[in-house]
């Protein structure tokens, strides 16, 4: 192909500028400067989001934290080793003995698939990273992605500057870091990314009003539905937004197209997850999602009919249809509810609407510490200056409402309300706070810098104003808002506020959110003490017990025992069967003979308790014991909470009741403890967590014997004796 000849000369133009001169020419253009600055900022934001979450890996080792991540890790191993179809149809016989658990149908597989895909990709690129390391670093990787999506979301809501501020704030907000540190291989690590992506793509779909953008949003919704149970938050928030837009008179054809496509494609995709299945159309939790779809179709049909018929005929038709639809709808809902076809709301979501529900009816939900309501201090601890900037952001959203900012307002208000009810949901409110604060901070910075950049225009404006109004007082009052010093001060204060925010975030991450709770680390430098009792005990179980041994412990430790100890457990963190957990609770709370009967029924070989009296570890089973009593007593009325309380006081000292001091939990925790001197100046058997001496110091066990106690007495394992010979 011959080159096109320019009209100026016979030869095509070839630049003889050197690399340096070309670079200088590009760099002096504002557009390229802006692009360069934006790219550098986003790269640094990504690196910051990744690196701030690495404290526990750097301080100790790359290990998976907490309880739930161990189950996710075990599932990912299963997925990678056995393959997709084995994982999809997996029945796990190693937990919930003798019931087993249908893992394929009761798990949200998004996280496992993500980690498996990352593993396969890294193997393909011959990077050969171990699966455990992939799992540990999934969360920081996705945190960086969330920061970039926050940039896109801010850009969609307002402008590029807001996006950059949103990305920077999202990278270090402590509320999000708490559940996405390296090692926290839990659903929220990828789910928050999916949540913000779905919201961003939804706002984009509403702004563009095309089918393609809504389908993209539906695929993001699929990722969210596959990853976390809080997908119902999205499914209820988007219909709520449509209703609010309708009521405030901002309904448009774009919303209709976006919602209809999102409903159709999103429902179909979400139903592919085995755990969700047909729940998506029959459950009460998604009633508004499906109801708003029907309502939108009805409204558009009415609008269509009105353009075709005359006013009078249309009025008659509307009246008839409204009456008929109302009657049919009411009758239909009544029939469905009465015949039980509509599944009721699950207990966890009822708690969000009525906070006192769980306390009265479902002790298991109420006992989880993450489900406790939030105090004022959690807000400033998890969000720092964002709590101040968020109301200002709400004000900016109300001042100039657009489709996107109204969505952000609805999201923020529901998220803030729910974060007040459950501490765990602070995680969902954190992106809302970040986006609101980004709008506020970006508006402050923009107005201040705009004033700084136009000093000449302001000066020429004041003199014509003074002569037009004819008042001399106008020239006496200086307008301090336009003065350079004021705006520089505002910029400086914003800088200081964001500096304090980032230093707070780093301190909080380092001190509060980076503990690998499987290992207890305290002290610094030469005084560092590492308590690795959990892994010591689980590996003892793995190497020193029969492969088909069954271990009974409280449900908190089930996942860890199955993953690290490789033994079958009776109950684990999935807590799907309340009666089974109540049986274990009853066994722990009864005296040894009764407990032995229950343990023989359940085929238990080993009983495991966590005891903190020697080391000072305060989340031990004696502190959780009242919950065992409550949950057991909820199913078996023979266990009464008042039997374990001395004058309303929960104590294991000499004032404790006989039922308490004879219970299996007391015996297993304090066996042989009465002979130990734990503190100077105190007697033997001084419990360092409860801070008093225990009641019964010589504990005799008839039906169990001590098999293993870890170095600091944190994990204690007992072997259940066989039945005695009759002769």
């Amino acid at each position: 192909m011959s080159p096109v000849k320019p009209s100026s000369g016979p030869e095509p133009y070839v630049s003889h500028a050197s690399l340096f001169e070309t670079a200088k020419r590009y760099l002096t253009k504002t557009k390229s400067q802006e692009l360069l600055l934006r790219s550098i900022i986003l790269i640094f934001v990504y690196l910051l989001a990744f690196c701030i979450r690495l404290f526990s890996v750097l301080r100790y080792e790359s290990v998976i934290h907490e309880f739930d991540p161990y189950f996710n890790y075990r599932s990912t191993i299963n997925l990678v080793q056995e393959g997709f179809y084995e994982f999809w149809n997996w029945f796990d016989a190693e937990s919930w003995h003798p019931l087993g658990r249908v893992v394929g149908g009761t798990v949200y597989p998004g996280l496992m698939f993500t980690a498996a895909i990352l593993y396969k990709v890294s193997q393909f690129l011959t990077a050969c990273i171990k699966l455990r390391d992939i799992c540990v670093f999934t969360a920081p990787f996705f945190a960086g992605n969330t920061a970039l999506i926050a940039y896109l979301f801010g850009k969609e809501l307002k402008d590029t500057e807001t996006g950059l501020v949103a990305a920077a704030l999202m990278a270090v907000v402590p509320g999000y870091i708490s559940r996405s540190v390296a090692g926290s291989f839990d659903n929220e690590a990828v789910a928050i990314f999916a949540l913000v992506t779905t919201f961003y793509l939804w706002v984009r779909a509403v702004n563009q009003g095309t089918i393609a953008s809504a389908v993209l949003a539906a695929f993001a919704y699929l990722y969210m539905a596959a990853s976390w149970g809080a997908y119902v938050f999205i499914s209820n928030l988007i219909p709520l937004y449509v209703i609010i837009m309708f009521v405030s008179g901002r309904y448009s054809r774009r919303i209709y197209v976006a919602y209809t496509t999102f409903w159709a494609v999103g429902s179909l995709l979400a139903m592919q997850v085995r755990f969700i299945g047909f729940n998506h159309v029959t459950s009460n939790e998604l009633l508004s999602f499906n109801g708003v779809f029907v309502g939108l179709q009805v409204w558009e049909a009415l609008v269509f009919l009105r353009t075709k018929l005359g006013t009078k005929q249309f009025g008659q038709l509307v009246y008839l249809t409204a009456v008929a639809a109302g009657a049919v709808g009411a009758a239909g809902t009544a029939i469905l509810v009465l015949s039980g076809k509509l599944n009721p709301w699950t207990g966890r979501f009822w708690t969000l609407l009525d906070p006192t529900y769980a306390k009265k009816f479902i002790p298991i939900v109420a006992s989880v510490s993450e489900h406790q309501p939030t105090t004022w201090a959690s807000y400033i601890f998890d969000l720092h200056v964002l709590v101040f900037a968020a109301p200002a952001g709400l004000y900016f959203c109300f001042k100039r409402p657009t489709d996107g900012t109204i969505f952000l307002t609805v999201f923020a208000l529901t998220a803030i309300y729910f974060s007040g009810i459950m501490v765990r949901l602070m995680l969902v409110a954190a992106p809302a706070f970040v986006l609101l604060s980004a709008i506020a901070v970006s508006s402050i910075l923009q107005s201040a810098s705009k004033e700084l950049r136009t000093p000449a225009a302001a000066e020429t404006k004041t003199s014509p104003v003074a002569t037009r109004r004819g008042r001399t007082s106008a020239s006496n009052e200086e307008n301090i808002t336009t003065k350079k010093s004021t705006n520089l001060m505002i910029l400086g204060l914003t800088f200081l506020a964001l500096w304090s925010y980032s230093s707070h975030s780093v301190w909080v991450t380092s001190e509060a959110y980076s503990s690998p709770s499987i290992v207890l680390i305290s002290g610094w430098g030469p005084h560092r003490v590492v308590l690795d009792d959990f892994r010591e005990a689980y590996y003892w179980l793995r190497h020193n017990t029969a492969p088909d041994a069954k271990v009974m412990s409280w449900w908190d430790y089930g996942y860890q025992i199955t993953a690290m100890g490789n033994r079958t457990v009776i109950v684990d963190n999935n807590t799907w069967n309340n009666t089974h957990i109540a049986t274990v609770g009853r066994a722990m709370a009864s005296n040894e003979t009764e407990a032995y009967k229950i343990m023989r029924q359940l085929d238990v070989d080993y009983a495991l308790v966590i005891f903190g009296g020697m080391s000072g570890y305060s989340s031990d089973d004696i502190n959780k014991f009242l919950w065992m009593v409550r949950i057991g007593g909820g199913v078996f009325p023979v266990i009464k909470e008042s039997d374990y309380l001395a004058n309303g006081d929960y104590t294991v000292s000499s004032r404790g009741t006989q039922t308490m001091l004879n219970s299996l939990m007391y015996k297993l925790s304090y066996y042989d403890f009465g002979n130990i001197m734990t503190e100077h100046g105190k007697g033997t058997g001084y419990d360092r967590v409860r801070n008093y001496e225990i009641g019964k110091k010589d504990v005799q066990l008839d039906h169990l014997y001590e098999a293993f106690t870890s170095e600091h007495w944190i994990v204690r394992i007992y072997r259940v004796k066989d039945l005695e010979n009759r002769f």
């Binding site: 201090a377 301090i480 808002t481």
Partner: protein, 133 residues
């Protein structure tokens, strides 16, 4: 259709909604759900070991997951006040206001914002003595 136009008049103004939102923000961040469920006392008491007298203790110490009612309300109040301060800062940019109002909004806004931040820092240091150490 005549009914629709009356719906327009029924709709509240955005700024009224914003005010209601700020009031609800105050209540939620003050930990009202915690107060309803756990029913803590309004202030705690600290028994003086020597005299036996009970000194009122406003902040539940060393625990982020516990609060007294008054402590929660004061925290929530200062969060909302800080937000109002930033709103005032923005109100001072309105070119259609008189210069006096703009100056007052600016000064008041700066003072309130800085005050709220300082007070919240003091509060969190009282509640958690190990903060930023």
């Amino acid at each position: 259709m005549p009914r629709l136009s009356s719906l327009e008049e029924l709709r509240p103004s955005p700024m009224l909604i914003c005010t209601l939102v700020l009031v609800s923000y105050f209540f939620v961040t003050a930990g009202i759900a915690y107060d309803i469920i756990n029913e803590p006392p309004a202030v705690g008491g600290q028994t003086d070991p020597v005299t036996g007298a009970v000194k009122p203790m406003t902040f539940m110490p060393y625990r982020l997951n516990g609060q007294f009612i008054l402590e929660g309300l004061s925290g929530g109040f200062f969060y909302t006040l800080g937000g109002v301060g930033i709103i005032l800062l923005d109100l001072s940019r309105d070119k259609n206001q008189s210069v006096l109002f703009r100056n007052v909004y600016l000064g008041l806004g700066l003072a309130i914002t800085i005050l709220s931040y300082m007070v919240c820092m003091v509060f969190i240091r009282i509640k958690m003595p190990g903060y930023m150490r």
